[in-house]
Symmetry: D2
């Protein structure tokens, strides 16, 4: 057991933007004995979680649950709907958008990777990585695609690498305005159950998500929420697929079962997670996240450091990217904060490597935990000699003291 628990005394502060801290109730549920995935108890469990997860995605259509990471769910979305050589329109909002685009290439698709051009004057970083999806750019590109070569528009809802939450409804409107038949595929791996999300209302064809963020589960489940059109398109799509194939899964799910062995104990956890989230009410869950995010941003502003997301309307409720001064190695900072204060922060990914750190404020958290997190960052910044304009901890405390969250 010792080998599994390297942390020093006290509770580790896991403040990365996922995996997020797993509530004790979920950990205990997950540790119940594994059952027969073909037995009657399993069918009841299956039907329950399938019904509940649809409420979280806000869809009346099928949600496919994979034993996989979120990365697997990306592949599933593409493999079920695309054919070799298909063009997909993707938007560079950060590292995860970049990785998804790279995956599309590996799968034999032709990604068209839109990005806001240019470098941000304030930070010297790529402008595209400080902003969200520009619907107008999409609309323009689709209008220009007279041959309808573009088969899908693929965007990231909540960019985990930057803390920018794009406006998906606006993307849908742009596609409609262009009268283009491409499918809309959205990655909300780190947004689901933390940021408001509406699969049906927003007209999304495939939504991709994972277990280890707002659902407060360990990693190991990937999701595809489908639209009827996505299901229709999948019938003729020609990328080879078997594990990810929707058809058999959707069919067997009707009775609460899966064609191959699902990951039973994570489904126990999902059942408990759904009880918690739907019991509290999604609206209040979103309020919690907005409150936390505002508190953390107040702290970053007090320090005088730039927030990665440059557009206030798109600030993520899930995480906040903090840009560190040029010359400072943000990863060395993170390492020292980890060693000194047992606090895990998210690293700067891809183009942001060494230039920022990310504070997760999602899932099973609360005001004091986030104040402690801010304090850990602040002490670490001071120890690293970063000049701060003011106390982020005081700013966060003022924010959180202002008024309580309404009772659940």
């Amino acid at each position: 057991m010792l080998q599994l628990d390297h942390h020093p005394s006290g509770r580790h502060f896991l403040q990365i933007p996922g995996p997020s801290p797993v509530p004790d109730r979920i950990l205990r549920a997950m540790s119940l004995p594994t059952i027969d995935h073909r037995g009657p108890e399993f069918g009841a469990l299956g039907l329950k979680v399938l019904a509940g997860i649809g409420q979280v995605f806000k869809t009346r259509h099928p949600v496919v649950i994979y034993p996989s990471s979120g990365t697997g769910a990306w592949e599933a979305a593409l493999a079920n709907t695309m054919s070799p050589g298909d063009s997909v329109l993707m938007v560079e909002t950060g590292q995860f958008a970049t990785l998804w685009q790279k995956m599309a290439g590996r799968l034999g698709l032709e990604p068209d990777f839109l990005a806001l051009p240019g470098i941000d004057a304030e930070t010297g970083l790529a402008l595209a990585w400080r902003h969200g999806v520009e619907p107008q750019l999409i609309e323009d590109r689709l209008r220009a695609d007279a041959g309808r070569r573009i088969k899908a528009v693929c965007v990231v809802h909540n960019e985990t690498s930057t803390g920018v939450t794009s406006d998906i409804a606006a993307v849908r409107r742009a596609m409609d305005a262009a009268h283009h038949p491409a499918l809309l595929m959205v990655d909300t791996i780190s947004g689901l159950a933390s940021a408001d999300y509406r699969h049906d209302e927003w007209g999304v064809d495939v939504t991709i998500a994972g277990s280890q963020k707002g659902l407060m589960l360990p990693p190991g489940i990937g999701f595809n929420a489908l639209s009827p059109r996505a299901l229709e398109v999948s019938k003729t799509a020609r990328l080879p697929r078997s594990y990810w194939a929707w058809d058999e899964i959707v069919e067997m799910n009707k009775s609460g079962y899966w064609p191959y062995t699902p990951n039973t104990n994570l489904l126990y956890g999902l059942s408990e997670s759904l009880d918690m989230l739907l019991g509290e009410g999604l609206d209040r869950v979103f309020q919690r996240h907005q409150r936390w995010a505002a508190g953390v941003r107040a702290a970053v502003r007090a320090w005088g450091l730039p927030i990665q997301c440059a557009d206030p309307a798109l600030h993520s409720p899930v995480l906040t990217g903090v840009i560190t001064p040029q010359g400072l190695d943000a990863d060395a900072l993170r390492k020292s904060i980890h060693e000194r204060f047992d606090l895990s922060l998210g690293t700067g990914l891809g183009k942001l490597k060494g230039r920022m750190f990310r504070i997760g404020h999602l899932g099973d958290s609360n005001d004091l935990t986030l104040i402690a997190t801010v304090a850990g960052c602040e002490m670490g910044l001071q120890l690293a000699g970063v000049p701060l304009q003011g106390s982020g901890v005081q700013a966060a405390m003022e924010h959180f003291a202002k008024q309580p969250l309404p009772a659940a």
Copy 2:
């Protein structure tokens, strides 16, 4: 919590050939808090489990760990090594061989599906489903493949649907005798850590396995053990792949990390499982399984019912298939045993549907649990009006009383 635990009073007897009962130690380990998969604690965990799992496969080469079911690991093996239209030689030993072959077809390969022809006189069932892989058939087919169109020989080591454990070393010898360059791919999903297995010594190129059988974990991990040749071949194979791609995983595994989020809590369980298995010693683990299997077979013989595996040399140490009399619905029998005695048995799959049930005797078990299992079957058979020649419980007791397992 109630919803997660539908079983009546007492411990459920989960005697299917996987998922197998998960030991309490492993369930507790899996319920520890999730950590940062990019943090230093994780790297230590990663290196530990990667080193240990190699010992279980008996290989010095890389083992790839996927967040997936075993079915995903099948796909990974094919996707990394094959190109569209490649011919693969597969052998019909039962339902899982059939499903793998079906998958190969879905992925755009051309499976050549060898089977022992004919119907078994005793039972009216397909002969192929009562026997193992015939090395001579493979050798003949490979010799006939002058054009070297066959790129891989794919066989199932322990057929979970029948209880037949084929001789993999003999398959290798047959391939060598034919001087054919095809890769040897072996599914030992339900054999690993219960039946003796030697990836390197037997010259296997890709071994496929899963977590929920001999490793005594819940489902959710798939494995590919590789040979240097498999890694070499993967560099030019052209099936599209990304999630399953070995290259990035093998590279990042060198430091104990993964390119995408691994399923942390199952890796806690794997760490504990490896401590248990390697602590006891694999040889003793195999002895335990042989002892149990012999006891259960003694019971089936006492009943006078046919054992699915017709070849005594290939009896599985993991499960025993029991053929029920024609006219009896084996699934109705299983259902009544489940309802009356809280005992889960494996169903007859594919061509065996309704004609047999399967008793799992693997993993975290012991003599009394198996006697109870046999008793549950015996009472169920009697209540169903099946004439039995004698008492299987008495036979099993005689077997288990004969001599103890040597101390660990």
Copy 3:
């Protein structure tokens, strides 16, 4: 962790008459984080378990919950109601009655220890240890106590050392017939929640119980269920007491709290236990135990070995004592069964040492578990060379196959 789990592969069979196997639901509930025993959450928990436990004792009066073993609850019953030198009438039904009588002496009371005289011809054992409390003997002794020196009649409801369940209502009738004012104190440590028990209806003044038997919890909680008269008597009783004193506990319990730190995590377990027991319904719980007990006794009769309880009307639903042939060391037998079959049986206590073993069949169990238990005993007896008249396992199977328990 390894050090905490010495058992070999598979689930240990804990078939002693307590501690009984703890259900997974209860183990998980007990492992939730400890809370402030003065906080609002605790008060809600306290009120819940106090209300629920009254239903199990079938009383409308206070039940006192101690952080203690059942032995502590014995002491509490005496310390709250007796004064130095008081005479208490106790009845020798076995080892636990003997220990309670010894305790009374240590506390400065004068126990009057009634026993059926004589030696049992069949077994050479004390007659008193094969029979229950004789109400007539009690009535006679009370009638003879003209000076009303006897302050309490203390009897054991379910003698854990013998498997005899005495008739408490008959004891009350005998006391009433004698018009004697002594208090009636009953130990049902191993009977509660397995055997029918009615604190109020039977006119019991203090009922003593513990957590680790029918309540399916680990050891660590002792109970005193009180009558208004017991509370009244406690006001003038003069044995020194502080930890055990009812007054402050009963007063503080009104708001769900305790005067000193209660054992929070066991109370989590108690809460879960009450949900399980009251959810199933006590009548069905008692039915389950009667069914199991009859099955185990059928096995013992088939072996031709004497059942410790010589009076069929008083057979315990909780455990069965099995008398072994003279010349055989029953503890050596138990040890060999433990080593060979990972099965824990109860030892012969006190006057029965080496002459019997006890099979627990209580709490979280089921038919197959008990058949396995009988099989372990049967194999052990055979290996020890004990001549058996027939197969206990067959007899138990016939019993359990006869008809199912009605659905919950």
Copy 4:
């Protein structure tokens, strides 16, 4: 399960001076299946925990482990060594000393309750409750006891109600100086394994402790560490006792067992706790606590509020009492902090009711957790309109940032 977990989202901050937060490792260990307390596995567990706990008390003599709260261990200490009417010299250091003295009275002893006289000018509170045990007062009283009526000196090492840690070695010296044969009994319920303690070296005869503080376990275990002289005295002491009697327990403990059912699952937890504490090393454990205590006191001083313990040499490493301004109801403050920030603080007990709150900083904690705790207090004080001189959070951060704890 829901009923057991009333807390809102995120991890509750349990910052009372016990029960302290229980580490996950210990919660998991405690949830392993209960075993036979008479079986061989139990004996190994018993011997292990008995050996380890002696190291924590720093004694080579027996330590008695009771299924009880710490209150029970007080009673055990008195019941084993005293006779009716014996005089015991006790010292009023706070609420727990007062309760122990009250217990002595209830048990028929004659407590002589020493206290520093007078009222503290700064706070209007009893002087005695802001100071430690005055060895000189004890020496004087013992010298005056020519008739040797005083049989024991009973002091509290770490007063949980005030945060004052008395100097036990000095008490021993005072007793030696007075050449008085009284036993020295010390309550270190809230000190053990957090504050340095040396049973043998300091010449203590009976040390009383509990599980739910520095040992980081849930409540439910009481301890008595004994001296040879205490054991000798117990042979002739005449208070009635049975449950608490040392003789049988010490005798049976030699083989790792107990005369009555011990609380097995808490002993699993104790085993894990000992692995953690002795693995880290007690000296480092004490360093951690001193560091945390200094950080919290820096915060209180920054606020400008009086620390309950008026003697800097006796500041507790376990908790800090904070005196609130007259006119403010400290319990209303605590309640609002609990509701707003999910932070549990200790209440003002006895003479301090409503005038102070207590911050626990013990066991399984770390710097960030304590900064969060201080922040929760600070926001609550501000919301309650308490004028603060400065920011406690800043002071605590400065303290904790100063230098790291040396590596374990």
